[in-house]
């Protein structure tokens, strides 16, 4: 087995895994703060990608906005969408799981098809802002865009942790997530915290999409497949746990890459899911998740 190829595969896996991790973070954060499983997350990812890429790819009045600016625009626009969505999620969060799932799925459906109407079902390829020639680091070949994806994702994840642990708003968000009632009694505006959570989750999804766009094909259907995997990754790591979402996403990505490279590319998707099922059977709360004792 060629170590170089193996490492390359793993790095590719980390790249895709970062994508999954950013999306999984959206799931876990919203679940933690609102108790809502947001099956529209995949669609939000797709919308965010469009929100950013259209500026960069010359689809708005022929402008070709520089990539970093397009990234920021995309994240901001999607964050605003997140805030708007909080209002819709409020009544959904109170429902039983079945209905909550279906309600968010319906929302995702609406978003997906709205974008089909606006942009057509055909997708398009996006050229990378960085040169296409793979870099060679220690004998391993990596696409510069992949490096960018991993790098910026890592930066975002670290910033998120810093935000949550060190800033006042971050701490308020955590308090609100831990217990809505007490936080409310302490004067923390729970709805605003939830809106912020959704904004962050959506922003991260947008970042994921825009960063991955030059590697992955962009079309309105891109959300559903990724959305499902992101959810699986979040569950794998332990739904509601932020380090869990990151771990789950990375593990899922690496598993996919390694199985595609070494086992069978056609069974890739299946293997990642199977592993998730096995892990859950062994540790029902996920890799990192907490075990709660069910009180009788």
């Amino acid at each position: 087995m060629n170590i170089g190829i193996f490492l390359q595969t793993v790095i590719g896996g980390i790249g895709i895994g970062s994508l999954y991790a950013l999306i999984a973070l959206g799931y876990s954060m919203v679940y933690r703060s609102m108790g809502l499983v947001n099956f529209a997350q995949g669609s939000i990812y797709m919308v965010g990608t469009y929100f950013g890429i259209i500026w960069y790819a010359g689809m708005v009045m022929g402008l070709h906005v520089p990539y970093p600016i397009a990234l920021i625009i995309g994240i901001s626009l999607n964050a605003m969408l997140g805030v708007l969505l909080e209002r819709i999620f409020r009544p959904l969060a109170k429902l039983d799981l079945m209905f909550m799932l279906l309600g968010t799925i319906g929302l995702g459906f609406v978003l997906d098809n709205l974008f089909v109407i606006i942009f057509g079902a055909e997708g398009f390829a996006v050229t990378s802002p960085l040169p296409n020639a793979p870099l060679v680091v220690f004998g391993i070949r990596i696409l510069p865009q992949m490096l960018l994806l991993i790098g910026v994702s890592a930066l975002l994840m670290v910033s998120l942790q810093v935000f949550l642990k060190r800033t006042r708003s971050g701490k308020a968000m955590r308090a609100s997530a831990m217990d809505n009632e007490i936080a409310s009694a302490m004067g923390i505006p729970v709805h605003r915290m939830n809106a912020m959570t959704l904004a962050i989750g959506s922003g991260l999804a947008a970042a994921a999409g825009i960063l991955a766009a030059p590697i992955v094909y962009v079309n309105p259907a891109m959300g559903s497949a990724i959305g499902l995997k992101g959810f699986a990754a979040a569950i794998l790591g332990g739904l509601g746990s932020i380090p869990g979402a990151i771990a789950g996403g990375l593990v899922f990505g690496v598993l996919e890459a390694v199985s595609a490279g070494y086992v069978s590319s056609s069974y890739t998707r299946g293997i990642a899911f199977l592993v998730m099922v096995v892990v859950l059977m062994v540790k029902p709360s996920g890799i990192v998740g907490e075990v709660t004792v069910e009180k009788v």
Partner: protein, 338 residues
């Protein structure tokens, strides 16, 4: 017999006539074909309702299980020449076994975890459909499945197939009702209402959970065999997660937790689709909005709507019922047993 009794009998008779005469009063062959497909979906929805609506088990692999039934029938027929009437029970058993496997995680994981696990397992099954070329024909699917014949009488038109499906759906409905009316149904509902309390009452929850999965999978399996022989061609994309979503939506719109809801939902959705077709692309957007509206305002689906209507004046007049406030006697304050 009071007014409501008469109205009910009359409605049933009319319904019976319509059902029996449908192929003759239908507009064209296509309509009959649509209703045939509706019948198949109703069967799957009945299964889903039993597992999810009554036993509270998230079986989101129904599309894949439907596929297991279809592929079993298709392979047995095209490879080994086995006729329809043997394929149906074979498909039922195959899907049932698969259902038990899908249901195994239900002991250790619950609700959203179980949901994603069953989705994931469904995905794995679908991937097998696509990849095992030699067995399943891969992405090209299996074609030239033979339509059935009944003691030499060929059932090779939509109209004839309609009666077959009608019979199966009716049988399926009554079997479901019979199962759910007594001990099994109560045990299912107990598990759904309060898992721990159910255990405390001596219910072997693991057994009933798997049973729920097996029963629902069996319904999907029979539906799969019916579908394979009706369509004479199957391919993996028919049985993917979006088909599960479709069945889930239909069941919820009709009424999850009520068998009649499966029938209503199975009928409603394709009809809705036909009407929405006019607005083309916006059709799917409207579909999504419709789902959200149902979820937010009428979670019990059409059946709940009807329950609310029953309390309305029109129906009360028909049944000459007293007003709801008068129905429950005031709680006894004198508590000594009597």
């Amino acid at each position: 017999m009071n007014r409501l009794g008469i109205a009910k009998v009359a409605a049933l008779v009319v319904l019976g006539c319509v059902l029996l005469a449908f192929p003759f009063i239908a507009k064209d062959r296509y309509q009959v074909h649509v209703i045939n497909t509706v019948g198949i979906y109703i069967l799957i929805s009945l299964g889903l309702n039993i597992a999810m609506g009554y036993a509270g088990q998230f079986n989101l692999a129904m599309g894949a299980l439907w596929g297991v039934g279809a592929y079993t029938a298709a392979i047995l027929n095209t490879r080994f020449g086995i006729p329809f009437w043997l394929n149906v029970p074979a498909a039922m058993v195959a899907a049932g076994i698969m259902g038990a496997i899908v249901g195994l995680p239900s002991f250790k994981v619950r609700s959203h975890y179980l949901a994603i696990v069953t989705i994931g397992l469904g995905e794995v099954i679908n991937i097998i459909f696509v990849n095992e070329q030699r067995l399943t024909g891969g992405a090209d699917g299996i074609s030239r499945i033979q339509m059935p014949s009944f003691f030499g009488f060929p059932i090779n038109t939509d109209e004839r197939y309609y009666y077959l499906i009608l019979a199966v759906v009716l049988i399926g409905f009554f079997i479901a009702r019979q199962i759910l009316k007594h001990r099994i149904g109560r045990s299912f509902r107990a598990i759904r209402d309060d898992y721990q309390a159910a255990k405390a009452m001596g219910i072997n929850t693991a057994y009933y959970q798997i049973l729920a999965f097996v029963i629902s999978a069996s319904y999907a399996g029979v539906a799969g065999a019916l579908f394979a022989h009706l369509n004479t061609y199957i391919s993996p994309d028919i049985f993917d997660f979006s088909s599960t979503l479709f069945i889930l939506t239909a069941t919820m719109v009709g009424g999850m937790g009520s068998l009649a809801g499966s029938i209503v939902g199975g009928l409603a959705l394709p009809i809705l689709q036909e009407y929405l077709r006019v607005i083309k692309n916006w059709q799917l957007v409207a579909y999504g909005i419709a789902i959200m509206v149902v979820v937010l305002f009428i979670p019990g689906g059409v059946m709940e709507l009807m329950r609310r209507l029953r309390a309305s004046r029109a129906l009360r007049w028909l049944s000459a019922e007293r007003r709801p406030e008068e129905r429950f006697e005031p709680e006894e304050t004198n508590v000594s047993g009597n």
